[in-house]
């Protein structure tokens, strides 16, 4: 653990900046803006958060190893660190060519039908996610090659935009062909800050948001998912289809799904019956991420602050904000929510937050559909992704890819992929005079 701790020595260096901020919103536009920890907590909680930070940033290792805190990678996995898919706590990106590996992206798998709790049915030989890598002696499951074709969209004022439509090809499959009716959903790692605040929004708020009448043909509905801890069906809010009940379950699911790390919530390694070598690998300890360390990661993510809006006094940004509301973006990308009573971490209670999300599912049309239902979310449904911090992605993550599979190469393309319930808003964006469209984009860049 010594090296891990040493590697972390300077990670908190710019927290001095955070000292000027209030609440969970922080005035910071540096490349560490997604990694600020809320400091006004007990020393014990801060220590726990820092331990969680270490685990989140650690590269996990395969046994045998001296440091038992980070042992347990695989046997099958996608990446060896949480940071791989959430670089600098921000957005991953999609490969640009078929030869490039998915370094911060994964592909969910299932076959038609529902499991006993209502979730997707895993593919018998591969499970619910393609793990591209295996530890030595265990073949990885295969790779996904991405290529793109282009679709041209003409905007008012004469501008033309080329959207890239992704096409996926499974290659090097080591455990037999995929079923012909396989359903799959490519996912780029989303930002991880502000998740504690989203967790602290109470369920009734989401129920009310879903019930509220909305203009422009927009609906919005709740996903209902299985809560493995409560042993009950509850409102889902995490995951790109709001398909996970709690942040803790989201974390534990990512550990087992992406890195093959077992935890109290997922005590079994992710090996299918067809994966003999995977099943024969001996574990050093079970679970590999014990309850205390899982709680540390949970505390870390809950304490991550959110970058505040910038350039509020800029008239162009102000114009963009008005257009954002006028053309209906703000109906789903709800600017302001208030967190409820959150006894698990009281500092998250009663916070006014600006996620630009309603955490509801919306039909986004055929263009973005993955065709893979997940609990009550259909193949065209996606949860409204929070937009907070979206204007810093380019500086922090050194790319400007957006949407669930990174197909959009900039914010304009991201807006133009909207369809379904967002058809009216998308058309309004297309019809905007160039200066107003630019103002809207300036507003987004200021988030």
């Amino acid at each position: 653990m010594r090296t891990l701790a040493v590697a972390l020595l300077f990670l908190g260096a710019i927290e001095a900046v955070a000292a000027d901020a209030s609440g969970f919103e922080i005035a910071d536009a540096s490349r560490e803006a997604f990694s600020r920890l809320y400091n006004d907590v007990t020393p014990a909680m801060r220590e726990q958060g820092l331990r969680g930070r270490g685990l989140f940033r650690a590269s996990w290792v395969i046994p045998p190893a001296a440091d038992s805190a980070i042992v347990g990678l695989g046997p099958l996995y996608n990446q060896l660190s949480c940071l791989s898919c959430h670089p600098k706590n921000g957005r991953g990106q999609a490969p640009d060519t078929p030869e490039q590996a998915m370094r911060s992206m994964l592909v969910r798998l299932s076959v038609p039908g529902k499991g006993s709790r209502g979730g997707p049915l895993p593919v018998p030989a591969y499970g619910d996610q393609l793990n591209e890598q295996g530890i030595p002696g265990v073949p990885g499951e295969g790779r996904v090659a991405v290529s793109y074709s282009e679709i041209e969209v003409n905007l008012a004022g004469g501008e033309s935009v080329k959207l890239r439509e992704p096409h996926y090809r499974f290659v090097d499959l080591h455990y037999g062909p995929l079923p012909t009716d396989v359903l799959f959903s490519p996912r780029v790692g989303p930002p991880v800050f502000g998740m504690g605040l989203l967790e602290a929004v109470d369920e009734q708020t989401l129920i009310d948001l879903a019930a509220k009448a909305k203009p422009f043909g927009i609906k919005g509905r709740l996903n209902r998912v299985w809560d493995a801890e409560k042993r009950a069906t509850v409102v889902g809010r995490f995951g790109l289809k709001a398909n996970v009940a709690t942040l803790k379950q989201q974390i534990a699911g990512a550990f087992i799904g992406d890195m093959g790390i077992t935890s109290p919530l997922h005590p079994q390694e992710n090996c299918t019956a067809a994966q003999a070598a995977c099943r024969q690998v001996a574990s050093l300890q079970q679970p590999e991420l014990n309850s205390e360390r899982l709680e540390s990661v949970l505390t870390y993510l809950r304490l991550l602050q959110v970058p505040a809006r910038r350039h509020r006094d800029d008239p162009v940004v102000q114009t963009g904000e008005k257009i954002f509301a006028e053309i209906g973006c703000a109906v789903c990308h709800v600017p302001t929510l208030t967190t409820g009573d959150f006894p698990q971490m009281p500092v998250l209670s009663a916070q006014t937050i600006h996620p630009y999300s309603d955490l509801l599912l919306h039909d986004m049309g055929e263009g973005l559909a993955d065709g893979r239902p997940d609990y009550a979310a259909g193949g065209r449904d996606w949860r409204t992704p929070p937009l907070w911090g979206i204007g810093l992605v380019e500086a922090i993550n050194e790319h400007s890819q957006f949407l669930h599979d990174g197909r959009a190469r900039n914010l304009t393309e991201a807006v133009l992929w909207h369809d379904g319930e967002a058809t009216t808003s998308r058309q309004a964006f297309i019809d905007l005079p160039p200066a107003k469209r630019e103002a809207l984009l300036a507003f987004l860049r200021a988030l």
Binding site: T3, A7, L9, V61, L80
Partner: protein, 423 residues
């Protein structure tokens, strides 16, 4: 759309020949590795890189396994591991083009003399600073270790404990090598008197600097350089002449993908690979002098710096005694930290008041002299004893003996100071 997806899978799900692969074992964090993986893939799309991570002290047993654990390339800042595995015959001779790759930077070797491994990058030691803190306390920027011994820095430093913090043993040893055994320990004692100890797992150095708890921390450069490049309001001052910790790369004898391994090594050492080290999330020092022409503004150039201050620190000669140094540091300081500070404070006050110079020298000698001499530190049996990881009873006994000796010296120093305080 779902039908379209199904069709795509049906048409395109194929078994194809797997790409050539290379398995790289490293201790570098994701931020470093991901940049090299991505760039290597762009240069060599026919080769798939698999990364395995292992702490430096854990790599030796892993690479000593049958088939060397399936590893093709080892890349890490762990000279000890490279040397130990070389003795086991674990490496192949590197077949790389030397053009543009120097063999030395002053006293620092940049390649194994027998050609089994090469330095890929360096990290330099110096002082991380909080400029606002220095301004507030009207403290000058230190440029060498001697400056930190000045009592005006009392209460303003954070010093990593070498037995606890991975990069610190070489940093502490560089002081001993640069200033000599006796003067080096004397300097370290005065610095300890000014510093708060930093141990892994407790409050981090950066937290201390960022929060304003302390203003200066001796450390290795890239943590701070990367933080600064990411927006941190910090500075870094290199301790001249700079001591460097080198990282190396080697190909395993058991490699089943030696061609791919060679390609990976060549890429890391290439101009393109070396320039990746400039990235804000990496900030290591390339070993190719020619790439510094493309360095970011204010980036440190060790080759240019060595013209004015030639590099004198050789980590290879230091390795055998690092464990011994750590044990001495603990016996002298770590186990008596607050007492050392209290005694120095009294001594400095006494000197300020114009106390007896001779007696002050006696007290200072008691506080700053190592329990063993410069000659004894070359005792191979002693070095081997403290080179063991995890320790054993005889090592612990020796450590206790030194600690007790220091305890008695501190008692003696206290008595002298008490006597001096009598009217």
């Amino acid at each position: 759309m779902r039908l379209a997806y199904v069709l795509i899978v049906a048409l395109w799900s194929v078994f194809v020949e797997a790409k050539e692969s290379v398995t790289v074992l490293t201790a570098y964090p994701e931020e470093v590795v991901s940049h090299f993986e991505t760039a290597f893939e762009q240069t060599h799309p026919e080769i798939d890189v698999q990364i395995l991570w292992r702490m430096p002290n854990d790599a030796l047993p892993y690479l000593s396994q049958p088939e060397q654990g399936g590893v093709d390339v080892y890349w890490s800042a762990s000279l000890r591991t490279f040397q130990a595995l070389k003795e086991q015959g674990a490496w192949r001779k590197l077949d790389v083009t030397d053009q543009g790759l120097p063999t030395h930077l002053g006293a620092l070797p940049l390649a194994d003399r027998d050609g089994f491994y090469r330095t890929t990058e360096m990290a330099g030691y110096g002082f991380a600073l909080n400029p606002a803190y220095l301004k507030k306390h009207q403290l000058p920027v230190p440029t060498d270790w001697k400056a930190l011994a000045d009592q005006r820095y009392q209460g303003h430093l954070a010093l990593p404990v070498p037995s606890k913090v991975g990069f610190a043993p070489m940093m502490i040893d560089s002081v001993l090598q640069q200033y000599g055994w006796d003067q080096g320990w004397a300097l370290l004692a005065e610095i300890v008197a000014n510093a708060k100890p930093v141990e892994a797992g407790s409050t981090f150095v950066s937290d201390m600097l960022g929060s304003g708890e302390r203003g200066i921390a001796p450390t290795i450069d890239f943590f701070t350089a990367s933080a600064i490049a990411n927006g941190a309001p910090l500075q870094f001052s290199y301790a001249q002449p700079v001591a460097y910790s080198p990282a190396h790369i080697a190909i395993t004898q058991a490699s089943k993908h030696s061609d791919a391994a060679k390609q990976f090594v060549a890429f890391v050492l290439s101009e393109a690979g070396q320039k990746l080290l400039f990235h804000a999330d990496i900030r290591k020092l390339p070993v190719r002098p020619d790439v510094y022409g493309a360095k970011p503004a204010d980036y440190f150039d060790p080759f240019a710096a060595s013209l004015a201050h030639p590099v004198v620190y050789d980590p290879e000669t230091a390795l055998p005694r690092l464990g011994l140094n750590n044990a001495l540091f603990d016996a002298m300081f770590t186990e008596h930290w607050s007492r050392v500070q209290a005694l120095f404070e009294r001594l400095r006050q006494w000197e300020t008041r114009g106390g007896d110079v001779g007696k002050a020298h006696m007290v200072r000698a008691l506080l700053t002299t190592a329990p063993i001499s410069a000659e004894q530190v070359h005792d191979q049996n002693l070095q081997v004893l403290f080179a063991k990881r995890g320790g054993d009873a005889s090592m612990e006994a020796k450590g206790r003996q030194w600690s007790e000796a220091m305890h008695q010296r501190y008692d003696e120093a206290e008595q002298l100071l008490n006597a001096a305080a009598q009217p």
